[in-house]
């Protein structure tokens, strides 16, 4: 029988993490005058959190089981919707596949239970900008095209396996599920009409229109910002998972 402490210790020992050096991240939208955002060194899970990991979590934290979770903290229509039961994440090798259909509250609770946290937006984007060979492939047309194609033909999360490919930081599957939760997902204000220009009563050039964007060709970044614009803390999508950072 697992206890919450055992859960925390187990995952701290068994989950491989990657050390990322500090660096700079160029936001798609930025504050007037800012060029880039400084990212301090941090550690992040090598892989997205799996269904198996999440089974262990709900075993020791029953309030996050599908049948128990409160509507305030998760959209119950989509929460772990394709699981067979509270403690069964699906067929065969399901436990090795990324978990999705979890709310921000649930993802956060998971990371907290592991004495970790969700990565911040700047950290996640910095880590996700890496191609196989380059730390910052933001302006690499080949990499951008690869992501555009990948986002359009994404596998169902029911069958998704981890890509063996690592990016230049050593992280796997950063774009595989589709989207991943970040701590401050709602920190960027994006207009629901993607073509409007910002209203200027805050420092961000809001809206995901090309106007105000650093790189209009970075469609994958626009897609991610668009998704985040539609999320609330209780949202659950079958293409939205997470990984933890410390």
């Amino acid at each position: 029988m697992f206890t919450p402490l055992a859960f925390a210790l187990l995952l701290q020992v068994t989950v491989p993490m990657v050390d990322l050096p500090g660096g700079h991240y160029e936001p798609l939208y930025r504050r007037a005058g800012d060029r880039t955002v400084q990212v301090e060194p941090f550690r992040m899970d090598r892989d997205p959190v799996t269904r198996g990991d999440f089974v262990q979590f709900v075993r020791t934290h029953p309030e996050w089981r599908r049948s128990n979770v409160r509507g305030l903290f998760a959209d119950r229509r989509g929460y772990l919707a394709d699981w067979r039961s509270d403690l069964d994440g699906g067929d065969g090798d399901a436990s090795a596949r990324p978990v999705s259909g979890v709310s921000w509250f649930a993802a956060r609770a998971f990371c907290t239970a592991r004495s970790a946290r969700l990565p911040r937006l700047a950290e996640w984007e910095y880590a996700a900008a890496a191609s196989r060979s380059q730390h910052d492939a933001t302006h690499d047309a080949g990499f951008v095209q690869q992501l555009v194609s990948m986002y359009a033909t994404r596998e169902s999360p029911r069958t998704l396996a981890f890509a063996a490919d690592r990016n230049a930081f050593g992280l796997r599957g950063m774009h595989g599920i589709g989207w991943e939760w970040v701590e401050d997902f709602n920190g960027i204000l994006v207009s629901s009409d993607s073509r409007s220009i910002g209203e200027g009563d805050h420092n961000l050039f809001c809206a995901s229109a090309a106007i105000g964007a650093v790189d209009p060709s970075n469609f994958p970044a626009f897609l991610r910002y668009g998704v985040r614009a539609g999320l609330t803390g209780r949202s659950t999508l079958e293409t939205l998972g997470f990984r933890c950072a410390v």
Binding site: R77, G78, A141, V144, Q145, V148, S149, Y151, A152, T153, R154, S156, G178, V190, S191, S192, D193, S194, R195, S196, I197, G198, E199, G200, A207, S208, A209, A210, P216, S217, F219, F222, L223, Y225, G226, V227, A229, G230, L231, S235, L237, E238, T239
Partner: protein, 370 residues
């Protein structure tokens, strides 16, 4: 998102002839420029003044019948405005684009182009956009027939598995494009998210025998790995160099068995849209002359006896002709490499007794005289 502040000060002289003086001030980043003064008057009216915008009363409620190209919903026979419920679902779907080329389309209603919507001027449209739970990205909708923020886009950011609803008054008659306006817009349009909405004028359109729905668009194709569908090619899209230019969503969507049929003598009206994302269309039907063209999808006939009509990306045209002669009419974009090499070919079959008074082939010596 800034909403324009519109001060309406029209004189009401009856719904059909409202004269509106509109002063729109749009608050911009620096705190509000006077954007302009627009004096807008319906055609044929003059004068100005002040009153509130008068709208016809809404009587009853009905659910819109939606159709898939090349079909068009039946003309509206009501003589009053009503509340019309429209429900459209965004879904991502892999389908045939050309022989041996499958593409992962993003669609309204599971088809490219999206479902045809038909309402009447003055109607109150309650529009619900759903987004399929298996979608990977949020979608929204901008209907060019909408007077209001983003054409509806500002009210319809819809996550996978979600839905959103807004209402609008169909103020202006005409044939309008709708499309997804979610970021990045070019990707959503290039993947197939567009269709047409017709706002019939109050008096209706002149009766014809057959109505058709044709929408041109182009695709920028990056071949997939073995067994994988093709996807958007960013570089070709930015260069505006499409792989395919098509009518009704795929190469051959309206040729052979799939060509719509009309009868000799039919008066035919074609609602033509251009989804783009980039190219304008030189719309032409080989072997016919358009008796009437409602250019740019407006509400009145602007020209008679037209060979080729220009349709901008994100625009439309309504063309009418009588099918006088049996045979196949070939629909093309007369920027002719697109038709010959890239797929912009469609067909309308005209069946029935031949009419040699209109056209007859006289024996000649096509191979030369022996």
């Amino acid at each position: 998102m800034t909403s324009p502040r519109i001060l309406l000060s029209p004189v009401f002289t009856g719904w059909r002839s409202v004269t509106v003086a509109v002063v729109a001030t749009i608050g911009l980043a620096t705190g509000g420029y006077l954007f302009g003064t627009i004096a807008s008057a319906r055609a044929g009216t003059s004068g100005g003044g002040s009153a509130t915008l008068k709208l016809p009363p809404i009587i009853g409620v009905e659910r819109a019948v939606l159709t898939t190209a090349p079909n068009v919903p039946a003309p509206i026979t009501r003589n009053h405005a009503t509340k019309v419920l429209v429900e459209l679902e965004a879904m991502e779907k892999t389908m045939r684009l050309a022989d041996s080329v499958n593409y992962t389309f993003w669609t309204f209603g599971g088809t490219v182009p999206g479902s045809f919507i038909r309402v009447r001027q003055g109607d109150l449209v309650e529009f619900t956009l759903k987004n399929h739970a298996h979608s990977t990205v949020p979608h929204n909708i901008d209907l060019h027939a909408v007077t209001g923020p983003g054409g509806g886009a500002a009210a319809t950011l819809t996550m996978p598995g979600g839905n959103s609803t807004f209402t609008f008054r169909a103020l202006n008659p005409g044939l309008y494009v709708y499309h997804c306006a979610m970021s990045p817009v070019p990707m959503h349009i290039a993947n197939g998210m567009y269709g047409l909405i017709l706002v019939e004028p109050e008096e209706g359109l002149p009766q014809v025998d057959r109505e058709l729905y044709i929408m041109q668009s182009e695709f920028y194709v990056k071949k997939g790995a073995a067994g994988q569908p093709a996807t958007l090619d960013m570089e070709k899209g930015e260069a505006e160099q499409p792989t395919y230019v098509v009518f009704n969503g795929s190469v051959g969507a309206m040729t052979g068995d799939k060509a719509p049929e009309v009868k000799v003598g039919d008066r035919v009206r074609v609602f033509v849209g251009n989804g783009g994302p980039n190219l304008s269309s030189s719309f032409h039907i080989i072997g016919e002359i358009f008796d009437n063209v409602y250019s740019e999808g407006g509400s009145s006939i602007t020209q008679h006896n037209v060979q080729t009509t220009m349709i901008p990306a994100g625009g439309s045209a309504t063309v009418e002709f009588r099918a006088e002669k049996a045979g196949n009419l070939i629909v093309v974009d007369h920027a002719i490499f697109r038709a010959f090499n890239k797929g912009a070919l469609g067909m309308i079959k005209v069946v029935g007794p031949d009419n040699t008074q209109v056209f007859a082939q006289i024996k000649g010596f096509p191979m030369g005289k022996h």
